[in-house]
């Protein structure tokens, strides 16, 4: 098991190196040249000279690259052109908001998707099965931002059941030991804030989770259908094992493999989709941060944001691989 993890970690290295090279080259391609791109138009000559020295822009390209890696490895992504604060600081503020949203969306899609797919498979060809297929198809055909707008229109504007924007009502005071508002509310025993943050989380999480929901439901259905036809299920039934136990111990456990893979793959979609969902609900996470950055050409923010999110994505994929190997021991030897 350990050898498997080490091997996977080693495979990570060329990808991270490649990623850093890609971002490094990307900075060089930005309009205006790297110094102007990183400082903005108001950069003074002295600042530009400092950047040139720091990034070694007058040196040969491999020296530049090495300097760049050193800078980034120390956590220095530069300062935001718009706010003049270190990008890392803003990242630390924005990241928990997006994570909270992504986790909520993932929970929504899994808690609803797996049972739905399971029932659809067991009642193959029935009305529930057809309904689930139609819902899945609609789920991947509706753009996330449009679903977000529709949900906002129905539940927030027309019915007024849920709030329209933000993470928490401005009237509520909450301490933030963790940065995850729902967790903070629980930790500080603030029940009013707890309900309020949950209410703010519902619509964005449902919108963001719609595509993962559709995919998880479909994959669960397909996986369960495959397993239901397997010999060991038939044997278990013939032995007289109760139907519920057959379902739990044999069917679901074995169907879990492809489902787990898909869930891991959905994280990329969640990170991408967060950008759109956050914009509709003015959610103060990485998404709105990056969109604002691109509007004002705040390249340090874009660089830091994209690099950081990609690294997170790569690590999550690694975690999924490891978890997959835990569930399915045969993978460890591949």
């Amino acid at each position: 098991m350990l050898r498997f993890i080490v091997r996977r970690l080693l495979l990570l290295v060329p990808i991270l190196v490649g990623l850093s090279i890609l971002v490094f080259l990307w900075i060089r391609l930005l309009p205006g040249g790297p110094a102007e791109a990183l400082l903005g138009e108001r950069g003074t000559d002295a600042q530009e000279a400092a950047i040139e020295r720091q990034y070694g822009l007058d040196k040969p390209i491999h020296v530049q690259y090495w300097r760049y890696v050193q800078t980034v490895a120390q956590g220095d992504f530069g300062d935001s052109i718009a706010t003049r604060r270190p990008v890392v600081e803003e990242l630390k503020q924005r990241f928990p908001a997006t994570i909270e949203l992504a986790v909520a969306a993932m929970l929504f899609s899994v808690l609803l998707g797996i049972p739905l797919g399971f029932i659809a498979a067991k009642r193959y060809g029935g009305p529930i099965d057809h309904a689930s297929l139609i819902l899945s198809l609609l789920g991947i055909s509706i753009p996330i931002f449009f679903l977000a707008i529709i949900l906002k229109y129905i539940f927030a504007v027309k019915l007024g059941w849920l709030p329209t924007v933000g993470r928490i009502s401005v009237l509520i005071d909450l301490d933030h030991p963790t940065g995850f508002y729902v967790l903070d509310a629980l930790l500080t025993g603030n029940l009013e804030a707890f309900w309020d943050t949950l209410k703010h989380l519902v619509l964005p999480a449902v919108a963001l989770g719609s595509i993962p929901l559709a995919v998880v439901a479909r994959i669960t259905r397909a996986a369960v259908l495959d397993v239901l036809n397997e010999d060991y299920v038939r044997t278990a039934r013939a032995k007289g094992v109760s139907p519920r136990l057959v379902d739990l111990r044999h069917v679901l456990r074995n169907a879990l493999l492809p489902i787990a893979t898909i869930i891991g793959l959905q994280t990329g979609l969640l990170l991408s989709g967060a950008v759109l969902t956050e914009t509709v609900f003015a959610w103060p996470g990485l998404g709105t941060w990056l969109v604002g950055a691109i509007r004002v050409r705040d390249f340090p923010v874009l660089q830091g944001g994209i690099l950081f999110v990609s690294i997170v994505f790569v690590l999550v994929n690694l975690a999924v691989d490891v978890m997959y190997a835990i569930i399915n021991p045969r993978i460890r030897y591949s």
Binding site: L137, S141, P143, F145, I150, V157, L290, V291, S310
Partner: protein
């Protein structure tokens, strides 16, 4: 030896019997017809403003003269939606063409040559895939600048690794096939094997993926347009761009947000239905059965 034409004929018969695929085909056909005949269908110029219509404030909803209502600058929504079909069709096709052409070339090289070339190309694709789709597109737009062509290229680029991987996998699977080994053993030249045996069979997943990629491309470009990264001229009737800023008007003019969105959903649904139908029709496991 089973000729490739048998595969296509069977697939076509299965497709015809699939109600979902027929619906999808109907939707896509409508979409294409509207796009092509836009000037004949649209009653107004999509960019023509008539501010006198806004005298009562923003924005009049559907009426007999303006079927889908009027937007914040007095432009007829119906005409904008109709012309928008042209943009969406163009966008989808160009983006997928970019992704398909580069992706297929890379995938074919990697799959057929194998060895170091394969490793290098696949590593490159892995690196591209390590950046979540929309963010990669945003990064490309940051470097290229905003605009319609730029977002088409950006979305196309995000699809390259998908097609590359697909074709490579397909070719690898075919290479070890019995009929390929048989052909090589009787001395059929490599190029002929590639053309007559490997490619026709490897092409079916590409066709399926291409159709689904069209659906994804339309959504992704609409998304980038919605974020304000697309055509910078707000009079351009692109469906995603038409949705920018409509959240402000949800209370007073919901039709501005709902109608372009529904248009996107219907066209994307059409391609997804066809893609799904094709996938089932071309599934080798079902060959010789349905």
């Amino acid at each position: 030896m089973e000729a490739p034409s048998g595969l296509w004929r069977e697939a076509w018969q299965r497709l015809r019997r699939n109600p979902g695929a027929i619906l999808g085909f109907g939707l896509v056909l409508t979409f294409v017809v509207v796009a092509i005949f836009a000037p004949l269908i649209a009653p107004f110029d999509p960019r023509a403003q008539d501010l006198s219509l806004l005298r009562g404030g923003c924005c009049p909803g559907p009426s007999t003269e303006h079927f889908f209502g009027v937007d914040g600058l007095g432009r007829d929504q119906f005409s904008r939606i109709v012309y928008g079909a042209r943009y969406s069709l163009l966008i989808g096709v160009v983006a997928v063409a970019v992704g398909l052409s580069f992706g297929l070339v890379l995938g074919a090289i990697a799959g057929y040559l194998g060895g170091i070339v394969d490793s290098v190309v696949m590593r490159l694709m892995d690196i591209m895939l390590s950046i979540p789709g929309l963010l990669l597109a945003i990064g490309i737009v940051a470097a290229l600048g905003t605009g319609l062509t730029q977002i088409m290229i950006a979305v196309g680029a995000t699809q390259i690794p998908i097609f590359a991987r697909l074709l490579r996998g397909s070719i690898l699977a075919q290479r070890e096939n019995d009929f390929v080994l048989a052909a090589r053993s009787i001395g059929v030249p490599r190029r002929k094997i590639l053309a007559s045996h490997i490619l026709p069979n490897a092409i079916s997943p590409v066709i399926v993926q291409g159709t689904l990629a069209l659906a994804t491309a339309i959504i992704d470009v609409a998304g980038l347009g919605f974020l304000g990264l697309g055509p910078q001229d707000p009079s351009t009737p692109e469906w995603g761009t038409m949705l920018t800023g409509t959240t402000r008007y949800l209370q007073t003019a919901p039709h501005l947000a709902i109608i372009p969105g529904v248009a996107i959903v219907l066209s994307v649904l059409g391609f997804n239905l066809i893609g799904d139908g094709l996938r089932e029709a071309l599934d080798p496991k079902l060959r010789g059965r349905g």
